[in-house]
Amino acid sequence: MSFPSDFRAACRLTLSARFLPLSLWLCIALVTIVLITAQFSARQPATVTLDLGLTVLRLALPVVAVLLLQELLSREFDRKLFLISLTYPRPRCRFLLARFTAIFGLLLILLVALAALLSGLTTFIGSSYTQSTPPDLGLPYLVTLGFIALDLLVVLAIGTLIAVTTTTPSFVLIGTLGFMLVARSYSAIVALLTRDSTLVGNADGYQSSLSLLGYLLPDLAALDVRMISLYGQWQFLPEDWALRVVSALAYAAALLGLSVWALNRKKFA
């Protein structure tokens, strides 16, 4: 019972789930947004282009991930396709892991394609004006992309867990994007309250409640290291970057493990 068979089938399903049209639209959106907004900065057009482009990647790729999860998992249960796919002589975990891997693999390819496009756009826009601190599209850019991929992995893992446990496909979209929003913003709120405790009443209590979230949620804001690429300076890379990587990987593994456990126990009436 080889995994490649499951993976191949999952890739075919992902590709047929509007992946290519979605990717094309994303490329068009990236080019349009980046070209328009670069006009707003006369002195640092390349940096603004790269900054905005990376924001587009960090926002759009999780949305694509969720749409694919809805198609490959939620609708599988909704349309009773599982009556065939789960009755093949393969364990349920393989069904889930193949689909997860296929979605993540294709998203990585899309990330690379979009990153190459963004790099080209940044170079093109940057060629019209020489900046004093130009963005670095070498190793710092690759590291930034690596962290974005890690962020995507965690978001995909939580989306998978929601898709397996919920019976409403739209909840995958709401739940995953809601999770992403909280996981990307709570550490910034904690930092803000640490700096200025007069912002809210009972700041200490509020802050400790938020800090509790740190044990439940991965800190996705910590995976945004774009400054090293925007300014080409390694000192912007957090000292605890290795811990952040390990923490994100651990969260993704735990969420995926929970998803497999939930699918094995899922009741199909």
Partner: protein
């Protein structure tokens, strides 16, 4: 003979919105290799639940189920077992050819002639002309045929079918019955459910009657015939019924049930009256036995 499928005291209870429904109550039976076993019962009797249990779609049940000696809780038990659900849902964006190729992949079957092999099965089910159209463009009957081809393309040892003839036109039903007969001739075992008793009579070697989650009995056609071999149904044509109490099938055609000893005298009277004999067949049928069993179990 080796057992293809064994159910030992299998019970399953569903809990939903405060209600408890016992879908299966201590169901035990077995299907031997090469046997065609029909599972009969009204809607909601537990037929589909039985299939979901054997294929591990439902895994929180009591009792034990084995496929070719391997516990049904293990994925390996489904090697050589193919399933066609009732009103099967297939990936709508794929073509029938892709669906069959995927089945070969998922059963780890490597063939140099995979495409030709798949086409051959699509031809057998008369859907080869639609091999490269998307499933969403096909009629319900053709989707059913593709689902059956998808199951048979992997050459299973046991074929599990949930209401296999529903959704098919008369030609399709005959095609499928013929293909299943070929499959059985080649030594394949079939477990299928139906609430159309005539279908079961046509295909099955043995029947199981399930009602309200309880397997009431399992019998073979031979058992049925020997149970009431002394009763016959005579259909004849005459100007009027011979003794005035016969059921009229249509104008000038009547039917009567008789004991075997009364048969010669009746035929003689028919000849004298200038009537014509149409058919003589045993009075026992799956339907009569089914209702008889239900009647016997109904509380007085």
């Amino acid at each position: 003979m080796t057992s293809a499928l064994e159910f030992h005291s299998v019970s399953k209870t569903f809990h939903s919105r405060g209600k408890t429904v016992q879908a299966l109550r201590g169901v035990s039976f077995d299907v031997t290799e090469g046997e065609v076993f029909g599972f009969v019962g009204p809607n909601g009797a537990g037929k589909s639940t039985t299939i979901k249990v054997m294929l591990d779609v439902i895994n929180d049940y009591e009792g034990e189920v084995r496929l070719y000696g391997v516990s049904a809780r293990e994925a390996a038990s489904r090697r050589g077992v193919a399933y066609v659900p009732e009103s099967p849902a297939l990936y709508e964006q794929f073509t029938p050819l892709e669906i069959l190729r995927m089945a070969l992949d998922m059963y780890d079957i490597r063939r140099a002639d995979a495409e030709a092999w798949c086409m051959q099965w699509l031809e057998r089910f008369s859907v080869a002309q639609n091999a490269k159209r998307r499933i969403r463009e096909l009629s319900k009957g053709n989707v059913q045929r593709v689902a059956l081809a998808h199951a048979l393309v992997v050459e299973p040892r046991l074929l599990v079918l949930d209401e296999p003839l529903s959704g098919l036109d008369p030609v399709g039903r005959k095609d499928v019955v013929d293909i299943l007969a070929d499959y059985k001739r080649d030594g394949g075992a079939i477990f299928f459910t139906s609430h159309v008793l005539h279908d079961v009579e046509r295909i099955a070697d043995r029947f199981g009657f399930i009602h309200q989650g309880e397997l009431l009995t399992t019998r073979s056609p031979r058992d049925l015939v020997s149970e009431r071999a002394d009763r016959f149904i005579i259909r004849y044509q005459a100007n009027a019924p011979l003794d005035g109490e016969h059921a009229a099938i249509r104008d000038g055609e009547y039917e009567q049930e008789l004991d075997e000893p009364a048969l010669p005298a009746f035929l003689s009277r028919l000849q004298t009256a200038g009537g014509r004999l149409v058919t003589v067949k045993p009075a026992v049928s799956l339907e009569t036995v089914f209702f008889k069993i239900l009647e016997e179990r109904r509380p007085a």
